[in-house]
């Protein structure tokens, strides 16, 4: 028998798969128990001592949790002790960073949920004054207007943006520098300037505020975001793939269309999401292009049209209790619409064939 044979008993039954590199279940449960105890203890500190409010709780929790980690880490070796300390610090920093975000989220939900009744999603404000009770009137016209304008803007910018990305990475023509320069400077255009641009051209030419004008203004803002993101994701496609396609006798445009673009499908979906996210909350350009409206408008060329941001803006200006409540609900609905859009887009675009 040679030296490389290890004398072992052969087990007939395969052992259970284990992952020794992960924290053990025991450690995990100890961690969660420590966390819970820290929460309870810091709550007690807030109740019994001078510390008060959420910031007091945060301070107390940080102190207690750090102390608990120190006590725990006496049982660990040096590396794991460092790990535990840095873990607490990073977690606290994360909580601190998330706090403003959470607070915005919470206040929109808390203040907006009161007006979120079925009528809000199906009725408009044509025969309702902002002061009326919250069970009358709604923002359906604004939701439809926003969706209409953003859809038109997306329909214009997605092909344009992706094509300019293709031009910058695949074709690399003579105007690459110019295109990149224009896209970059466009991304710096203030939104009100985009609105003014459409106002002096399209609105003046058609002599009317309209959804189309609003959509064009949004498109101006959306294009650089989509184009730049598309360029970035297209750059990530390895050249091997392009070579493989060329070596099969494919022409450049077939290569781009059937090999490169499908490879980055989920990345292009991200580009679209970022573009929509950039414009869906824009108010200033819409005030100069689509204005606002209290009744349903489905025709993009049919005069002023309502939208969620201008709906919120208008109601806030009135300033009575019910109108402000409606404005909060409008903000909440705007957030929900964005959430739904993103989730759908991720679901459609994220299904990579792997």
């Amino acid at each position: 028998m040679s030296t490389m044979i290890v004398p072992t008993e052969r087990a007939n039954v395969a052992p259970e798969p284990t992952t020794p590199w992960r924290p053990t279940r025991k450690n995990k449960s100890i961690s969660s128990i420590v966390f819970l105890i820290s929460v309870v203890l810091s709550a007690a500190i807030v109740l019994l001592t001078g510390l008060a409010g959420i910031d007091g709780f945060g301070l107390a929790f940080f102190a207690v949790f750090m102390a608990a980690t120190i006590v725990r880490s006496f049982r660990l070796n040096q590396k794991n002790r460092k790990d535990a300390f840095v873990g607490v610090l990073i977690a606290s920093a994360a909580v601190l960073a998330f706090f403003p975000w959470m607070s915005i989220f919470a206040s929109v939900i808390l203040k907006g949920v009161r007006g979120l009744q079925p009528n809000f999603l199906v009725e408009n404000m044509q025969f309702t004054t902002p002061d009326d009770e919250l069970n009358m009137g709604g923002a359906a016209h604004a939701i439809i207007g926003s969706m209409l304008m953003v859809s038109i803007a997306a329909a214009i910018t997605l092909p344009l943006g992706i094509l300019s990305g293709v031009y910058l990475t695949e074709i690399r023509g003579r105007l690459t520098f110019l295109v990149r320069f224009v896209v970059q400077s466009m991304s710096g255009v203030p939104s009100i300037v985009a609105g003014l641009f459409i106002y002096t051209t399209f609105v003046n030419y058609t002599d009317a505020f309209s959804g189309m004008a609003g959509a064009l203004a949004l498109a101006v803002l959306m294009l650089p975001t989509v184009a730049r993101t598309a360029e970035e994701v297209l750059k990530l496609v390895p050249d091997d793939l392009r070579s493989a396609s060329y070596a099969l006798g494919a022409r450049q445009w077939r290569t781009s269309l059937m090999v490169v673009l499908p490879t980055v499908r989920s990345g292009l979906m991200t580009a679209a999401i970022l573009g929509v996210a950039r414009v869906i909350g824009e108010t200033a350009p819409l005030l100069l292009t689509s204005l606002s409206n209290n009744s349903f408008v489905f025709n993009p060329l049919g005069g002023p049209i309502g939208s969620l941001p201008t709906y919120v803006f208008g109601l806030l200006q009135i300033g009575t209790e019910n109108s402000i409540n409606r404005a909060w609900t409008g903000s909440l609905v705007l957030m929900i619409v964005v959430l739904i859009l993103f989730t759908t887009a991720r679901y459609i675009g994220g299904k990579d064939k792997r």
């Binding site: 490389m4 044979i5 087990a11 052992p15 020794p20 590199w21």
Partner: protein
């Protein structure tokens, strides 16, 4: 060969009553999974000090998975799981108090594709392990020279140490990667098909390098090239996966495995009848 056998399994003379410790790397009843997929079944192998072990077998029989288990690189793959023990000088490298980074410092790895760091020049590439692991070293120049010499690259690059790694040929890049792994003084070097992307000349240079390395450390080499396994290895292990998880068919001294294997499947494989 008999000399290797003698030197390979030395036991540390412990205090009275302590169990004898096997020096070197030893895998005991290793299993590996990716998700629910059982890819490696019950492999036990010993890699004595100052020997070259070749792992041979057809594609997909778990050789690469096995050597990635030996320096805890397996756990980087999402869904990976394992069972069994890997003992280094008698200590299980998978026990919870073990620092995986420290293990990888002692058990180095060279990959199939040469991967010198593109943002560093040749000299910096060799010293990168020392910098990355915060090791204190007095004489950097001496390390660069000795590692490049051991990797058989010194003569070719001594006048252009500040050139980027990418300016070297494929074979030179691979030897640079070997030099890089040597700088942190590992006791075992794992090589995952180090020559499969190289021309015969470069392959020969790397094999010479391996023969020099083995004077100090243990080398484990995965290869699809049976002649290579026969040329460089002292011991050889033959893996096979017939539909199910990969397993170890036979492990023996290379000479015996290639001339007089005890399993007919090994005989068929080394004679090129399949695989």
């Amino acid at each position: 060969m008999s000399q290797t056998v003698q030197t390979s399994v030395t036991s540390v003379d412990g205090e009275q009553g302590e169990p004898k410790v096997v020096r070197g790397l030893e895998a005991k009843n290793i299993h590996a999974w990716f998700g629910k997929h059982h890819v490696l079944k019950d492999v036990s192998l010993r890699f004595p000090e100052r020997t070259v072990t070749g792992l041979i077998g057809p594609s997909g029989c778990g050789k690469s998975t096995f050597i990635r288990l030996l320096n805890r690189m397996h756990e980087f793959i999402p869904g990976a799981a394992m069972a069994g023990q890997v003992l280094q000088d008698g200590h299980d490298i998978y026990s919870p108090e073990v620092d995986a980074a420290a293990i990888r410092l002692k058990v180095g790895m060279v990959f199939q594709k040469p991967n010198p760091f593109p943002a560093m020049n040749i000299r910096e590439n060799v010293l990168s392990g020392i910098k990355l692991a915060h090791l204190k070293v007095a004489d950097h120049d001496a390390i660069v020279e000795s590692c490049l010499t051991r990797a058989g690259l010194w003569k070719e690059v001594k006048d252009r140490l500040t050139a980027t790694g990418g300016s070297l040929s494929g074979g030179q890049q691979q030897r640079l990667c070997i030099a890089r792994s040597l700088a942190v003084e590992p006791s075992v070097l794992l090589m995952d098909e180090p020559c499969s992307a190289l021309d015969p000349g470069s392959t020969l240079r790397i094999e010479e390098t391996i023969k020099e390395l083995v004077e100090k450390i243990a080398v484990v080499i995965v290869t699809h090239n049976m002649q290579q396994a026969a040329r460089v290895s002292d011991f050889c292990a033959f893996f096979l996966a017939d539909g199910g998880p990969g397993y170890l068919v036979e492990a023996d001294a290379t000479k015996k495995l290639f001339t007089n294997p005890s399993d007919t499947r090994t005989a068929d494989y080394v004679q090129g009848k399949f695989g």
